[in-house]
């Protein structure tokens, strides 16, 4: 180190010093009568200069220049490396970017580490009064609330659409420090009719005009003043790319809020939880709610590693990404082996050059360095190309709109984590591609008599490893493809071929009264049922896969007095729902219209519910008390179950209530219609009918088939990603096999020529080459199958029930695909071998 500094700072004065010093030396010699040395000043200066040089760095630079020059002469190697490493590093950084975005991204608030989400009584949402009390307690620096579950009706002057809205408390923007691109955030003193727009909504629906700030937009029929626009890279508190279209102050009295708090400086999450418990106990005494607040208290981080620790969904997503990263890591390994194979072949071609340089006195370590520098140049090119691919991938993902009812926009920015990961991958690639070939080349140049076959054996070994790895990657991809097929074949439990649904969002102010809502439902159903071709029309709070409400409650059975803790999916529907949806009624009946219904609170349950909680007696006609409610609930019918959220889920207990009997507090309603004609043809008529009944309602009409897209999303994403990666891995391994076969044929040209000259059949020659490829494929497949069998076992958690990872069908199919592709890759080299001209090949070399 001190040497480096000396060199850096004193280099310039060195030359001057040397001549001055030498002049002095001569003068002294002359003065003292000694013979004046006849030495050459220039030589001394040269030597001194050599000492002062940055020898290492200059050598390195020379290697870089030399390497670049020699790479320019082998474009095939450069292109293979560029494509192989580029694809490998591109897909790795791409998946890593997604993992970072999903798992580690922080919401766009100031100092996200000090923001926590709060839960009282295990509930994600709390009343406004509760939020206010927690805030007033002074435990936190500030407490905010948001409700992110509402659609609001936006009228653009021509049509009314539902847009995704978040209601916030007045202090939300200030307390969290939400960044704003134009204008300002919502302030506590603002009136209720102000709105902050998401960047995407503003750009896509309002043409990105900054002058929108200060203007009025109509939401739920009321004029709202736009006060601000969020920045393009804004990340909401919920995360997962959720980008609500609009933020407004809370406008409904009964809207419950998800609570977030900013910790006081120095406060830990543990202290926050403990303090919250004290507050909850006091709340239980001062204003008791339907559930005790002091149970299941939670204060949890809103982003980063801490969030992963508390949320189980995050852990599942994390495991999925780990799987993906392992698989794409294997793909990169295959790509590296490709490049290593080519470098090995090149090394044997360059043996003479290296031997000459060694005999001229080049150090082994210098040659080694030079060979590694060449690999590093290749890796650098590959990484640059890979990062370009990643950028393209990020742009495509940003534009992609998943088939979800909520707006999702992912920002896959190229930040320092991604860059660091790319550097790590590049270093790994240098070692994986370059080390072995460089070592080999030098050893063989020193001892050139070592057998040539030995080197070919190493290349064959690499190809076998490559085939084995690609088999593992392919198995994973194939499993996810089968998973997709399997989940497509699973019935959701209702008819999606003859049905359509309408999603209605009533203007809340006009429909505060439950009776008005009921009247609206009755009128709409009458109008819809009168449409030609409509066989049945029903209303429901929830259509499966588009929404979900679950309960975990204590039920007290009136006949036996037994208490059961039941977990079930809940829905409220009109009587014709089961008919319209095509859900078979197993026993009993559906609800009866109007005064015919005898039960005060009738419910229909599914088979799973009956089997799990009511198996001790005949379930039909049984009554129970639900929680603290005083009205007994009577079971009037039993139906088949449906899937509720995902197609792969296990059967869940379900309860249906009569929509006309519940105290419907929500402005969102859905209709489901059964059509005799293809449901797509009814969309216009249904939209027009509902528009007539309530012109101010937000309205989405679509076929049920297209609306359950969400259910297939996980298996589609899994199949698309891992299937694609599997194909990529197979492709790279095939290139590797092809390269080795071509190389081996070109080395054996002479031998083949001799064979042909001695009368061998051309067909036999082709067969010989194919057989040697088949041998490699066979060994690779065997090794790969063995690895895959154990490695894919943990994937069972991502697959639909019934699809086992050990299913032999998968392995047989994958091995067959590998064998066919591999032999196809060996076909061209085999034909080339068969067409060798004996005469010219004997003159060869």
């Amino acid at each position: 180190m001190p040497r480096l500094f000396l060199k850096l700072f004193r280099r310039r004065s060195m030359e001057r010093d040397v001549s001055a010093e030498l002049a002095f030396h001569r003068d002294m010699a002359a003065a003292q009568g000694n013979p004046i040395p006849m030495g050459n000043t220039t030589v001394v200066q040269e030597q001194a200069r050599d000492l002062w040089r940055f020898t290492r760095i200059e050598n390195l630079w020379r290697d870089v220049v030399y390497g670049a020059r020699s790479l320019r002469r082998s474009p095939a190697l450069v292109v293979t490396a560029l494509l192989s490493l580029g694809l490998g590093i591109g897909i790795n950084t791409g998946i890593f970017s997604m993992a970072v975005e999903f798992l580690l991204s922080q919401p766009s608030v100031t100092n996200p580490g000090s923001v926590v989400s709060l839960r009282l009584g295990g509930n994600s949402h709390a009343n406004k009064e509760v939020v206010d009390s927690v805030r007033a307690s002074g435990l936190f620096q500030d407490v905010v609330g948001e409700n992110e579950e509402v659609f609001i009706n936006w009228n653009d002057g021509a049509d009314t659409r539902q847009i995704f809205c978040v209601q916030t408390t007045g202090n939300y923007f200030a307390a969290l420090g939400v960044p704003i691109a134009y204008g300002r955030g919502i302030l506590p003193q603002d009136p209720d009719e102000v709105a902050v727009l998401s960047n995407h909504f503003w750009r896509s629906r309002l043409r990105g005009d900054p002058a929108v700030v200060g203007r009025t937009i109509r939401l739920d029929g009321r004029p709202y003043t736009v006060v601000g626009i969020l920045p393009a890279d804004y990340r909401s508190l919920v995360g997962f790319g959720l980008s609500p279209d609009v933020y407004v102050p809370r406008y409904l009295d009964d809207t419950r809020l998800a609570m977030y708090a900013r910790l006081k400086p120095g406060m830990t999450i543990g202290q926050a939880g403990a303090g919250l418990l004290t507050i909850a106990r006091r709340l239980d005494q001062v204003m008791p709610g339907p559930f005790p607040y002091a149970q299941h208290i939670q204060a949890a981080a809103v982003g980063g590693m801490d969030r992963i620790k508390t949320e189980t969904e995050m852990q599942t997503i994390g495991l999925f990404f780990i799987t993906l990263l392992v698989v794409v890591g294997l793909v990169l390994l295959i790509a590296c082996v490709n490049v290593a194979g080519m470098l090995l072949a090149r090394g044997s071609a360059r043996r003479q050059e290296l031997a000459i340089r060694l005999s001229l006195g080049a150090g082994r370590s210098r040659l080694f360095q030079q060979l590694l520098v060449e690999t590093a140049l290749l890796a650098l090119l590959g990484t640059a190309f890979g990062l370009m691919l990643r950028q393209a991938m990020a742009a495509a993902i940003e534009l992609y709109k998943p088939p979800l009812p909520i707006p999702i926009h992912l920002h896959l920015t190229l930040d320092w984590r991604i860059t660091l990961y790319a550097i790590l991958l590049a270093s790994f690639a240098i070692v994986a591609c370059g080390l072995l070939p460089a070592w080999r080349s030098i050893r063989h140049s020193i001892a050139p008599n070592l057998g040539r076959e030995g080197r070919m054996r190493l290349q064959r070994g690499l190809v076998v490893a490559q085939l084995a790895i690609s088999l593992v990657v392919l198995t994973v991809g194939f499993l996810f493809l089968r998973n997709l097929l399997r989940s497509n074949a699973i019935s959701p439990g209702f008819d999606v071929r003859h049905t359509l649904r309408a999603d209605v969002n009533l203007p809340p102010a006009a429909y505060k009264d439950v009776l008005r809502k009921r009247a609206y439902v009755a009128e709409s159903l009458r109008a819809l049922a009168a449409l030609p071709g409509i066989q049945a029309a029903a209303a429901a709070r929830i259509i499966p896969f588009t929404d979900n409400t679950s309960f975990g409650s204590e039920l007290t059975l009136t006949d036996t007095g037994r208490k059961v803790h039941a977990e079930f999916a809940w829905n409220a529907v009109s009587p014709d729902y089961f008919h319209a949806m095509g859900i078979p009624i197993v026993r009993g009946r559906t609800f009866l219209a109007g005064s015919q219904e005898t039960a005060a609170r009738p419910v229909v349950v599914n088979r799973t519910f009956a089997a799990r909680y009511l198996a001790d007696r005949e379930p039909l006609g049984r009554t129970f008390f639900w929680g603290f409610d005083k009205t007994p609930v009577r079971i009037v019918g039993i139906v088949e179950g449906t899937k509720t959220l995902s197609i792969g889920e296990d059967p869940r207990p379900q309860i249906y209530e009569d929509l006309s009997k519940i105290d419907n507090d929500r402005a969102r309603l859905q209709f489901v219609l059964r059509s005799a004609t293809p449901p797509g043809t009814q969309l216009q008529a249904v939209r027009a009918t509902l528009r007539r009944v309530e012109p101010n309602a937000g309205l989405e009409v679509e076929t049920l088939y297209s609306s359950i897209g969400l259910a297939f999303l996980p298996s589609q994403v899994g199949a698309a990603l891992l299937g694609g990666i599997g194909v990529l891995g197979l492709m790279l391994a095939t290139i590797g096999l092809y390269g080795v076969m071509v190389y081996s044929v070109s080395r054996r040209t002479r031998e083949i020529g001799v064979r042909l000259a001695l009368g061998a059949n051309r067909r036999d020659i082709a067969f010989m080459v194919l057989a040697s490829a088949a041998k490699l494929i066979l060994i690779g497949s065997a090794a790969g199958l063995l690895c895959a069998f154990f490695l894919v076992k943990p994937l069972a958690m991502f697959l639909v029930p019934g699809l086992r990872t050990t299913d032999p069908v998968t392995f047989v199919a994958v091995a067959a695909v590998l064998a066919i592709t591999g032999l196809a890759a060996a076909w061209a080299p085999a034909r080339r071998a068969a067409s060798v001209d004996p005469m010219s090949s004997l003159r060869y070399e």
């Binding site: 040497r3 010093e21 002095f24 040395p37 030495g39 002062w52």
Partner: protein
């Protein structure tokens, strides 16, 4: 390079001699050469062509330090001084040298 009657110095020996010469205090290049010449009983003559590169190398290694000063005849000259590191190096080299020369002497003292 000038031919000389004095024996060729073994590689590395010059470093040892320079460090030894510098033990008494700072010297400029010419007087280092003179000191070695005198101490060797005029047997060894250090050429500037080998002296200065050796000095620069030692300086870069941190065994000696250089600074510009004024010589006895009032001229600007570069003075070299042994450093702590140089002293350690000297001790080690001395040890190596005495073992080597002892070994060589023993070998030469006996008939094969």
């Amino acid at each position: 390079m000038a031919k000389s009657d004095s024996p060729m110095l073994l590689q590395g020996t010059l470093d040892l001699l320079i460090l030894h010469a510098l033990q008494r205090g700072a010297l400029h290049g010419y007087s280092i050469a003179q000191t070695i010449h005198l101490l060797s009983g005029q047997a060894l003559k250090v050429e500037e062509g080998s002296l200065y590169p050796a000095l620069y190398r030692l300086e870069l290694d941190g065994a000696i330090a250089a600074h510009w000063g004024v010589s006895e005849n009032n001229r600007k000259a570069k003075y070299y001084e042994i450093t702590k590191r140089g002293k350690k190096l000297l001790a080690a080299e001395q040890e190596t040298w005495s073992r080597l020369s002892l070994g060589v002497q023993r070998v030469l003292a006996r008939q094969p």
